[in-house]
Symmetry: C2
Subunit: 110 residues, 2 copies
DNA sequence: CAAATATATGTGTATATATGAATATATCGC
DNA sequence: GCGATATATTCATATATACACATATATTTG
């Protein structure tokens, strides 16, 4: 059962990663890391059509990465876990260093 | 130009995340985090068809997440950056806590 | 209840992704 | 150069993803 369970876990692991694998969702997550926001605020601040924001929020919700909270007229979304931002920051640093290294290689060839 | 450059960066950011967003690639990355491995070793250890391993390695290569090194007959792949594993571990912890919380909620309802 | 506002969903479509099976390419030792 | 082994690619296909546009649902206030 080890193998089968592990595969299941790895599948879930991949689904969380897939939650990060879209530019618009990354923008949403960073925006929420500042403070909770409702859908309209996200749509306005990120200049994204509201239905698109809703759909991405649904994806993040389903993966437990954000959660909704009704505040009167409005639904406020909150980042579920700061470690999501930590992970994004790590990956951004990996990307930056990779690009730097590549640039240095090109430099060295000149 | 700010906006445009930032979008480009976010796009690259998302592509690295997408590199993690597949169970087989997650397995490959964890395997490489133990030590460098050649394609056949990966294929054997992870019980994945060799062409499938090659294809996933290509994806990881293109994103600068692993790099190849010929060692005689064999091509040894190395994890490009340990922070990829750190990020994966963070995300796995997020997942685990999310599942735990959900389980407790279900428990509370019983 | 009706109107107004906030949020979510349906549809169509274009594009990307993952995979098996077969095959191609490359490198080493002779 | 040839045979053997290691790695990569092509093809066909099934499935998932992202998006615009239109529309539906829900909640609050009057």
């Amino acid at each position: 059962m080890n193998t089968n369970l592990e595969l299941e876990v790895t599948q879930l692991h991949a689904e969380i990663c897939a939650g990060l694998a879209d530019p618009n969702r990354i923008l949403i997550l960073y925006e929420l890391s500042q403070s909770p926001r409702n859908v309209t605020e996200l749509s306005t601040n990120l200049k994204m059509p509201q239905p698109l924001v809703s759909r991405h929020l649904k994806i993040l919700r389903e993966r437990g990465m954000v959660f909704p909270n009704r505040k009167g007229t409005v639904i406020e979304y909150t980042l579920a876990d700061d470690r999501l931002i930590q992970a994004l920051d790590l990956l951004r640093a990996v990307m930056r260093d990779g690009l730097t290294k590549r640039a240095e290689l090109i430099e060295a060839l000149a």
